[in-house]
């Protein structure tokens, strides 16, 4: 088994890491790059807590090999804010109480961010479907849906405080 040198561009910063090819993307992000916002909640690709954006697409990073993402753009929950200014989806989550224990939150933020990148005005059903692969034990999901609806309605300006 030969380790491989790969580059992951995480939140607009390039990280060169030397990994065993069996390293999952979530392990590369959490252990090699050191960003622990992305979580793990299962071993069966069921819970979505590990969701990140790869080239702006929501994927479950527990089910992707890091080596497959060599040179790709990865966005995690730590990468949503810009110089301390929260992204609209983050502000909407705060306003709507769309998290409680917070463990699923990064995954929810990234799944919904992936949706909003594709579709700026999703319907309620589309919003629900975008987080269908994410489990939340605390909120019952409706507050998360309300947050995305608020962003879709244009209630938050990009980059404002």
């Amino acid at each position: 088994m030969e380790k491989r040198l790969i580059t992951l561009i995480v939140n607009e910063q390039a990280y060169e890491i030397y990994v065993n090819p069996k390293t999952l993307l979530v392990e590369a992000i959490r252990d090699h790059v050191g960003l622990t916002g992305t979580k793990r909640g299962c071993e069966t690709v069921s819970c979505g807590a590990c969701t990140v954006l790869v080239n702006d697409m929501a994927v479950k990073s527990c089910s992707v090999l890091a080596v497959q993402c060599d040179g790709m753009k990865i966005t995690t929950s730590e990468g949503l804010e810009v110089n301390g200014k929260l992204a609209p989806i983050q502000k909407a989550f705060l306003d709507n109480g769309s998290y409680q224990c917070g463990f699923c939150t990064s995954g929810m933020l990234m799944a919904t961010s992936g949706l909003l990148k594709e579709n700026k005005k999703p319907t309620k059903d589309q919003i629900k479907e975008s987080i269908e692969g994410n489990i939340c034990r605390c909120t019952g999901y409706n507050s998360i849906v309300r947050a995305v609806e608020a962003v879709a309605r244009g209630e938050y300006k990009e980059g404002s405080v």
Binding site: Y99, C101, F103, T105, T139, N142
Partner: protein
């Protein structure tokens, strides 16, 4: 003066005490306003670090070897091959511990029956038998395969009814017929009560178990250092309980253990007992003097973390034909699994809340908790009450329907009210049941005629706001708080309450801000750290808003009294004038435009106290509050379901939640708790099947264990119920667990109204509906045939 009147006067007084002066329109300026959760930014930016994420320098990774047998004697454990594996630093077993049997019911030694690493015997599949610490997780896992355990397999018993039989295997020495705990609750004369009844029904039910399924699995990092201090990062609901329990099993002083639970990824009742992660990491680090981390996989979490108590229920109820309740008798046999844990409390509370929320002239409950060789059962949100309501609220609905009564009016007729005393058990000081019933009735009426295949079901319930009983045997106040005022007006609040996502940090900050007269953003809350925070029993039994809230309010009142002394001195007022603080403005109540800014007073007070900050202390322990709780919440849950008659598929279409929590404090937190409770309770009603075969869990993963998803959730509108609870801070009582109680029963009742079938087992799954419909069809056919024959 009756207490109802007292409560009414208190409510009126609430209005008089808080004056406004133009800036703040509300009489309460902070309570029930739209306050962001104060941990929110950390959580939405990925900064919040959980035990799951914690890394310490030189840290080793641990894994636990688990018993494949449900019942076996441990004859020998040979770890030599594992120890020879490069990278393995230590292997520990029960023999490396003091072998102390512990339990959370510390007051009763016979209920302290559990060694986390057993020495002689394993009693359930998945029980820890050894733990490894190694340089990497992968090496630790490989080491598990190299540990040789010599078991003498014993016959196991898995169902409580079987376990109580004379020839059943003995699970704990000296415990006859495996009966772990019994509970008896009684008032009135049940026999006479039944004699007065016009209609008596008797039914048997079964309520399944449920997994807590916290998004953060069990996780601990323990670090023991040469000066004899043990530091533990642990995902738990009570840092104090862990500290005290660990001191007990390790034979060291509580004060030499620091437990940190700053960010916790869910608890739901499963994380306030010792678990394999905290125990094994502590034993390993005390041997190696290096930090050790154990994180459970999701599979381990399913197999080896205690579950909701499965219960066999027998209920006999007698009512008059006008719907007046006469008598009820119930018996529960619960599947306790291998150890006691919090299961003893669940047995009591199910029997108590099975009487809620109604006035029963005569009531009798007998509960039996039985050991079996399965995963121990314990507390889970609702604490025995979801099971109680599944049975009670469905049976009452069937009885009302049989008698042609309006089921809501029947509930109203017999409902609790403020001033009622549950004989010998509880005093109800505030009760919003009546209003909840009315709001439900209005909602149903507004719905009008439903499409075919749809029906509405509802259920009432009531719940406690924390328990009064000191089974933990703590010498400390149940809740404590310390508030410190800095010279610049910022405030530090130290509480022992644990933030597990329910929003307690925010709730306490709101109470502190309201009491002191400042803003939430002025308050920094420290919680979940036994080195820095006062002891508190933690987040369970829906206790923190009332108990820690009271402690917080008292601490802030203490600080406010102290600091206002300096304002009185400075302002030289006539004795008839008094001062208050609102919105950072210290002012004369009668002349609010005259005063000084809060920040100015803080500076004055600090100088006045010789450079010392003002520190306020508060605490709360319920005294003379009956047998269960200082206060009770009430709720109604209505659910509209659609059922596919041919396949039995259940769809949740809409819902209504009417929850009486007294004065709401944390607005966003409250909505979150109610909506979240719905999702968990609905899961208990129709999704979260947890089958065991010979002690083995058949679906320990999230593919086969069904969790409700966003696409399955109906809307969850909430009807506000207005009451005031005198025992609670600003009139508040719980909103964390109560709403988990009625939802499964509401779904059951909806199925009953849709299809006329009575579902006695939860969770209800589609094939059960198909089967019940088939049986009903055959029964109806036979009845028709019998009629024709006449």
């Amino acid at each position: 003066m009756t207490t109802t009147k007292k409560a009414q006067e208190a409510t009126a007084k609430k209005g008089q005490e808080m004056t406004t002066f133009g800036l703040a329109k509300e009489k309460l300026t902070v309570l029930n306003t739209h306050v962001h959760n104060i941990d929110g930014v950390a959580k939405v930016t990925g900064r919040a670090t959980y035990s799951f994420d914690t890394k310490l320098p030189g840290m080793l990774y641990g894994k636990i070897l688990r018993s494949p047998h449900a019942h076996a004697r441990i004859k020998n454990i040979d770890a030599s091959k594992a120890l020879a594996l490069h990278g393995v630093k230590a292997v520990v077993t029960g023999k490396d511990t003091l072998g102390i049997k512990q339990g959370i019911w510390r007051r009763y030694q016979e209920l302290c029956d559990e060694q986390i690493l057993p020495v002689e015997k394993v009693r359930y599949i998945g029980e820890p038998v050894a733990a490894v610490a190694a340089a990497t997780e992968e090496i630790a896992e490989a080491a598990l395969d190299l540990i040789e355990v010599d078991y003498e397999v014993l016959p196991g018993v898995f169902e409580p009814m079987e376990a109580m039989k004379k020839d059943a295997p003995t699970i704990h020495e000296g415990v006859e017929r495996n009966i772990n705990v019994t509970r008896h609750i009684e008032w009135g004369d049940v026999e006479s009560g039944f004699e007065e009844a016009d209609y008596i029904r008797e039914d048997n039910f079964f309520c399944g178990g449920q997994a807590h399924m916290c998004m953060e699995t069990r996780a601990a990092v323990s670090s023991y250092t040469p000066e004899g201090k043990l530091t533990i990062y642990h995902s738990n609901q009570s840092a104090y309980y862990m500290q005290a329990l660990m001191a007990g099993v390790l034979g060291i002083r509580e004060g030499d253990i620091r437990v940190i639970a700053k960010y916790v990824g869910g608890g739901f009742g499963g994380k306030f007992e010792l678990d394999g992660a905290i125990f094994c990491t502590a034993i390993l680090t005390m041997k190696l003097f290096r930090p050790v981390k154990i994180v459970y996989t999701r599979e381990e979490d399913f197999i080896a973390t205690k579950r909701r108590t499965p219960m066999h229920y027998w209920v006999r109820t007698g009512i008059k034909k006008d719907g007046t309740f006469c008598a009820r008798e119930a018996r529960v046999v619960s599947n306790g699994g291998a150890y006691t844990g919090m299961g003893a409390t669940a047995l009591y509370l199910t029997g108590f809340f099975h009487s809620f929320p109604y006035v029963w002239p005569a009531y009798r409950y007998d509960g039996y908790r039985v050991y079996t060789n399965t995963l121990p059962s314990t507390s889970m949100r609702g604490f025995g009450a979801p099971q109680a309501m599944w049975c009670s609220e469905q049976q009452l609905e069937w009885m009302a329907t049989d008698l042609g009564l309006d089921p809501i009016e029947m509930r109203r007729k017999n409902g609790h009210y403020a001033g009622y005393e549950v004989p010998g058990q509880a005093y109800i000081a505030s009760c919003g049941l009546d209003e909840a019933l009315t709001k439900t009735k209005e909602w149903i009426k507004a719905k009008g005629k439903l499409p075919a295949n749809r029906a509405i079901g509802y259920s009432a319930a009531g719940f406690m706001s924390g328990g009064i009983f000191n089974w933990f045997d703590t010498p400390y106040s149940f809740s404590s708080a310390v508030v410190t005022i800095n010279q610049d007006g910022t405030v530090i609040l130290h509480i022992g309450a644990t933030e597990i996502g329910q929003g307690s940090n925010t709730t306490m900050a709101i109470i502190a801000a309201e009491t002191l007269g400042v803003k939430v953003e002025d308050i920094t809350v420290h919680s979940g750290d036994t080195d820095h925070c006062p002891a508190d029993l933690g987040a369970w039994g829906s206790r923190q808003t009332l108990m820690t809230g009271n402690a917080t309010k008292r601490a802030c009142e203490d600080a406010k009294r102290q600091i206002l002394e300096f304002a009185y001195a400075k302002m030289g007022l006539n004795i008839v004038y008094d001062l208050d603080i609102k919105d950072r403005w210290v002012h004369i109540v009668a002349r609010p435009e005259r005063g000084m800014p809060w920040e100015e007073l803080c500076k004055i007070a600090t100088r006045g106290k010789d450079g010392q900050r003002i520190i306020g202390r508060g605490f709360y322990t319920p005294h003379r509050k009956g047998m269960i709780s200082p206060a009770y919440s009430y709720m109604m849950q209505a659910v509209e379901v659609e059922i596919d008659k041919e396949t039995g598929h259940i769809d949740l279409i809409d819902s209504l939640t009417a929850h009486d929590c007294g004065t709401p404090i944390n607005h966003l937190g409250l909505i979150g708790q109610l909506e979240g409770a719905f999702s968990m309770a609905a899961g208990y009603g129709y999704l979260e099947y947890m089958p065991y075969e010979d002690g083995k869990l058949m679906n320990p993963n999230l593919v086969d264990y069904k969790m409700i998803r966003a696409t399955e959730m109906p809307e969850t509108p909430i009807a506000e119920i207005d009451t005031y609870e005198p025992e609670g801070p600003y009139g508040a009582k719980e909103a964390g667990e109560g709403l988990t109680n009625p939802t499964a029963a509401a779904i059951g009742n909806a199925i009953f109204h849709a299809l006329g079938i009575q579902m006695k087992e939860c969770p209800v799954r589609p094939h059960m509906i198909v089967q019940a419909l088939k049986e009903k069809e055959e029964k109806d056919k036979a009845a028709k045939g019998a009629k024709k024959g006449k």
